[in-house]
Amino acid sequence: MNTVCIMCPIGCALSVTEESGKIVVTGNSCLRGQKYGESEFVCPKRVVTTLIKGEKGGVVSVKTAEPVEKKLVKEVLKEAAAFRLSSSVRAGEIVLENVAGSGVALVATADYDAK
């Protein structure tokens, strides 16, 4: 796998491979790049942010409370797009538990007043 280290502005081009059970990172200039390369190879994670629609109109911005596995990002977006919010929420409150079976909740990042 080829990627770019994002841990500092240098942006080393990393190459990560598995050789007889061991993960090998090359192209990094420091230990942080090594760790980043490993985690991107084993299980890359992302915080997902998107919008949830209200049943009677309006939108509210949400995020996953924790980073979720990158391969679940599309599913999270799909479930969020299909969901309709029926009541008011405040920023920080949970909108949808265990989104896409990730074990992580979607929480509101702004206030929403249901009409």
Partner: protein
């Protein structure tokens, strides 16, 4: 006429941080905001990545804005005027504003903080050839329509400009089900953060082409496609290599301009930053008028905006209360490799000053030097510097003996 010690024009992150720090010094404060909500552009930036420096945690734009908004609204010493458009500011600091609630509003301020933010360069500003069909938006306008109004502006998208707003919108439109076909950058490098290139483009397999631009837009009522071409070293398009890309939407992310129309005939503006020329207290050439945030110079991190605005707010309060010291000022001039430095003046005295600067291209392994009165007073080694990432170097005022210059060694 109403009276306040400090009047802040603009209720974005800069305005809110300025208001809070002015209050800490005991000034009475008013914040004038034309929108119906405080928080500025942050309200539409729903992605995360704000506040890592300032709060030590990763917040979304609305969350970052809320922390400041709540603190401002809870402070009885800060009067907030929403839906209030400032129309003029006079030299003796009388502000005229218009609002549905108050009608025409006149306010006498002792000190003023300019915090009006910036606006995006539009199709007009970059002289795009061809038709003017529907479907051409600035990235920020598309972001607002999408994230505040919940309306997706198109299905097949091409983006010109690889600044952060363009990159963020590439991911956002993809998340909403649009197909982003291509992001183009006229320069051979991106002005956006590495992190955004990886997580907004690479994660979704969106191609990025450097040294490429849009030559023409096509379509009668709605955009049907754009012609694109690679550019030569002088950034002129190589028309023999022009190709057509069908799309219904073109997003422009081609730069931001500080919004200084209110004061452009009254204070000295820098031809490079297009913002005010200020000293380290962020005081402009007009005594008692201060400036901070994107109206002063375009920032890439909101954390820096909050920091800068806190300085401006505190200084404005001290000025209003008659406690801002005055003294000799040294000019700060950028040279060799440094495109601009801010503040452009430093008042002699004591204490530390952070000089913020941007370089003119990508540099590796260079040393930044600050000289004053012909002697080097500070040097700092750096690994990599890019024009898209604002840098700073901290200097001790007691070391200054004359005008200051900042440059890269061996450039």
């Amino acid at each position: 006429m109403k009276n306040f010690d400090v009047v802040v024009i603009g209720g974005g992150p800069a305005g809110l941080a300025a208001a809070l720090s002015a209050r800490k010094k005991g000034a009475s404060v008013a914040v004038l905001e034309r929108d119906d909500k405080l928080g500025g552009i942050l309200n539409q930036c729903i992605h995360s990545g704000f506040g890592l420096h300032y709060f030590g945690e990763e917040l979304t734009g609305p969350e970052y804005a809320k922390r400041f908004r709540d603190a401002v609204l809870q402070d009885s010493g800060i009067s907030v005027f929403l839906e209030t458009m400032v129309l003029s500011l006079s030299k003796d600091k009388i502000i005229c504003a218009l609002s549905p609630a108050e009608g025409l509003l006149e306010i006498q301020a002792k000190a003023v903080v300019l915090a009006m933010g910036c606006r995006e360069r539009s199709a007009g500003a970059i002289a795009l050839a061809g038709e003017r069909p529907a479907g051409i938006y600035t990235a920020g306008a598309a972001q607002r329509l999408c994230n505040i109004d919940g309306c997706l502006v198109g299905k097949e998208v091409v983006i010109l400009g690889s600044g952060d707003i363009g990159l963020i919108m590439a991911r956002r439109m993809t998340s909403e089900g649009a197909k982003v076909k291509l992001v183009m950058e006229i320069m051979p490098f991106s002005s956006g953060l590495k992190r955004n290139i990886v997580q907004c483009l690479n994660d979704f397999d969106i191609p990025l082409r450097y040294s490429t631009t849009v030559t023409r837009a096509e379509g009668k009522d709605r955009l049907t496609g754009v012609y694109i071409a690679p550019v030569d070293e002088k950034l002129a398009p190589i028309l023999e290599k022009e190709e057509f890309i069908p799309c219904d939407t073109l997003l422009l992310s081609v730069g931001l301009i500080p919004e200084n129309d209110l004061v452009s005939d009254m204070i000295e503006l820098s031809p490079i930053t297009k913002g005010a020329v200020v000293d380290e207290r962020r005081e402009t050439s007009l005594e008692g008028v201060f400036s901070a945030g994107n109206v002063l110079h375009v920032h890439d991190l909101v954390d820096n905006v909050s920091e800068e605005a806190a300085i401006a707010g505190e200084s404005a309060a001290l000025y209003a209360l008659g406690k801002l010291p005055r003294g000799e000022k040294y000019a700060v001039t950028p040279s060799r490799g440094v495109r601009y430095a801010l503040p452009q003046r430093i008042q002699a005295g004591e204490g530390k000053v952070r000089v913020y600067f941007r370089v003119d291209q990508v540099y590796r392994g260079k040393t930044v030097a600050v000289a004053s009165g012909g002697e080097i007073v500070k040097r700092k080694k750096t690994a990599v510097m890019a024009p898209g990432e604002m840098q700073y170097i901290e200097i001790d005022k007691t070391a200054l003996t004359g005008d200051v210059s900042i440059y890269l060694e061996e450039v």
